[in-house]
Amino acid sequence: MTSLIDRRMGIFLAGLFVLTVAVPVGNLAFEGKVVPSYIVSLLGKYLCYALLAVALDLVWGFCGILSLGHGAFFALGGYAMGMHLMREIGDRGVYANPNLPDFMVFLSWKELPWFWHGFDNFWFASLMVMLVPGALAFLFGWFAFRSRVTGVYLSIITQAMTYALQLAFFRNEMGFGGNNGLTDFKDVLGFPLQSDSTRAGLFVCTATALAAGLLIARAITTSKLGMILVCIRDAESRTRFMGYRVEGYKLFIFVVSAMMAGVAGALYTPQVGIINPGEFSPANSIEIVIWVALGGRGTLVGAALGAILVALAKTLFTGWFPEFWLFALGGLFILVTLFLPKGVLGLIEDTFARKKKPAPALQEAKA
């Protein structure tokens, strides 16, 4: 069957590796002159998005589950990590309360709610980063797939899920800092978050996670299981008649994807310094879908590229023409759909293919 690392994956991973080495070195060795510090966390953020896009592509591109709620898994991962970072502040908060995060103190919480326990331990938190989104995905998927909720119905209930979570996390009673979310992080594993070397370290972690995510996704999609996922995408009912329990496959990939999204969120939180319910907003989840569609659905590398491209466009456009950037971004989306049916990756590959060899010779129609 297909090899684990095909050409496009190879090129992307090689590029990623170069970045992983060059960015921290360029930043640390030259005191930020070659690569300014803010570029490091910016790129780190992009790579988190890329991992999130890969996670979505896994379920959408290969299994046809258009999740409009993947932001929820990302945010949950982010919150799990945020909770740890919050705990790590200890008594250095403004109210100097060693047991409670600031927002709890000033909302007069008397003790730490049960679900905050354990998060002072980094490893526990790291586990939760995957387990919490994974558990939610399992629960949600178990019901939905068993009931054979598909297509737009599934999309919309995933949207309802993330929307409900957004509203819930807004509530101060939930104990997650309400609208402001979790902020004011000081350090992670004892390394101050505001230092360049920590940032570089986080960047390397993110790049590694992305590479690992891509490889895992690729391993899954090139396996027989991956082919069955595509069967489910194209003709779900037919797949059942072949004896495959569709719900099991969907559940598996949905949970894997949710965990991957959770990891992306966990890496995101320390790099942007805040996690708040805005991440649960339906619009955010739609944007993830847009990254994947723009990059090229069902291509993994394309999804990652799409995420990076859109984020980059947003960064540049909001700075270049703050008043009109929506025109540029909106126009970009329209043009890509109209003229690049296979996404940005398709364009890149077509250009290369054209350079390599002239148009493919006319094949014989076989009878």
């Binding site: 300014p36 510090s37 803010y38 966390s41 910016l42 953020k45 502040i89 200890g90 008594d91 250095r92 908060g93 403004v94 109210y95 100097a96 309360n97 927002f103 103190v105 000033f106 909302l107 007069s108 509203l167 807004f170 509530r171 101060n172 309400g178 609208n179 402001n180 979310g181 902020t183 004011d184 992080f185 978050l193 505001q194 942007v272 310094g273 805040i274 708040n276 805005g278 947003k314 960064t315 909001t318 700075g319 703050p322 008043e323 950037w325 929506l326």
Partner: protein
């Protein structure tokens, strides 16, 4: 090294908050323009650097970093929502730059690099409630707000305050709604019912942004008049009213530190300039605009005094700086990085303006840490003497934050 002084403007020009923040960006451009006409500062021209954080909180942090690191701005004027401010705080702290924050907020914060030119709760909520109690004889209270930190905190402070003033807990009704709530039928009818208990009732509204228009429309349509149940709002200003037919709302109240209708020469001049700058005779001015006006002038004075835009020097120079505000007084930057402001209570008129019906005797000092919350009553902020934003007066230590 540069021959201009760069001023960062960090306000959302798109997304949900653009509705409020775009105006503040324009005000900043106007103020910078004016200053340049006066010859800049210390012989250097000012240059505005505008970016769009698009109502996206993490993007605020990214853009702040970009402004400071990539664009090399010396000061940033920006943010509206608390979460956006929270999001950029670490950036300003790390890169040691200056942020002027122009919006009323829940307090409970004082940071070395941030200057709060909007109202703290004691400069808006408490005086407004005092007015209603004293002048309108209100005994029953509806605290209605959008479900997020500012209303939650403000209502918490108010509840503590009201109960301290002898209001019975059953005479306080607290109600929260989601952002952008647009169906107010049930809540308005609940308010009516709550208000028909025989005691004079008022609504203290911390309803945010877009939700206000449908709220007031529903109030008007269900015939809740200001004479029966006045609503005093902390987030509704001239800009918000510009989107409403105010005829049914006449008499409802707002508490601010500035109203466009205030009759002072400074204000007249400001309004005049604003209308010319924006090229629209119908545009209104509002409280956060004045906050930027004050903040900007304070910063200019501080830079002039320090002779440099170097952040540390300016931060040190700012406390104690006095500039005239638009309501006829002089605002002072306090050691806790908040400013002194008058508190005005205005009634909505049918032309969309507020008529000031009450104001505090003198200027009120912004208090970073509320005296009505037990945990923060013991805290104080002083960046001049104590060099601490959260000094605990009981243990005589500075909380861990400033290391």
């Amino acid at each position: 090294q540069d021959d201009t002084i760069k001023v960062g403007v960090l306000h959302s020009l798109s997304g949900t908050m653009a509705i409020s923040e775009t105006t503040l960006k324009d005000v900043m451009l106007m103020l910078i323009d004016e200053q340049n006409k006066k010859g800049g500062i210390n012989g250097k021209m000012l240059e505005a650097v505008v970016v769009d954080p698009a109502s996206d909180w993490p993007l605020f942090a990214e853009k702040a970093r970009e402004l400071i690191e990539a664009n090399g701005v010396d000061v940033v004027f920006g943010c509206w929502t608390s979460v956006s401010r929270k999001s950029v705080l670490p950036v300003f702290e790390e890169l040691n730059s200056i942020l002027f924050y122009p919006v009323q907020y829940e307090g409970e914060e004082s940071q070395k690099n941030v200057f709060y030119t909007g109202a703290a709760p004691n400069q808006q909520a408490i005086p407004a409630v005092d007015y209603l109690m004293a002048e309108e004889g209100v005994e029953r209270w509806v605290l209605a707000g959008t479900d997020y930190v500012y209303p939650r905190t403000t209502n918490k402070i108010l509840e503590a305050y009201l109960i301290g003033k002898g209001v019975a807990p059953e005479d306080i009704m607290v109600n929260y709604t989601p952002f952008g709530h647009s169906d107010w039928q049930t809540i308005v009818s609940d308010i009516k019912t709550f208000g028909s208990a025989g005691k004079k009732t008022a609504v203290v509204s911390t309803i945010n942004g877009d939700a206000n228009v449908p709220f007031y429309k529903e109030l008007g349509n269900q015939g809740v008049s200001a004479e029966d149940i006045p609503v005093v709002a902390f987030s509704v200003g001239e800009e918000e009213l510009a989107g409403l037919d105010t005829a049914p709302l006449v008499g409802h109240l707002a508490a601010w530190n500035y109203f466009m209708s205030v009759d002072t020469p400074e204000n007249a001049e400001f309004i005049e300039k604003w209308k010319t700058f924006i090229g629209d005779d119908k545009r209104v001015t509002n409280d956060p605009m004045e906050a930027h006006y004050i903040g900007f002038n304070m910063w200019v004075k501080a830079v002039e005094a320090a002779g440099t835009t170097d952040a540390d020097a300016v931060i040190d120079a700012l406390p104690g700086i006095e500039v005239p505000n638009l309501t006829g007084g002089t605002s002072v930057m306090l050691a806790n990085h908040h400013i002194t402001k008058p508190v005005l209570v205005g009634e909505i008129q049918d032309d969309g303006q507020f008529d000031v019906v009450w104001e505090t005797d003198g200027l009120v000092e912004g208090d970073a840490w509320s005296d009505f919350l037990p945990e923060s009553a013991v805290l104080t902020s002083d960046w001049v003497e104590l060099k601490c934003g959260n000094y605990n007066t009981e243990t005589k230590t500075c909380g861990g934050a400033s290391n």
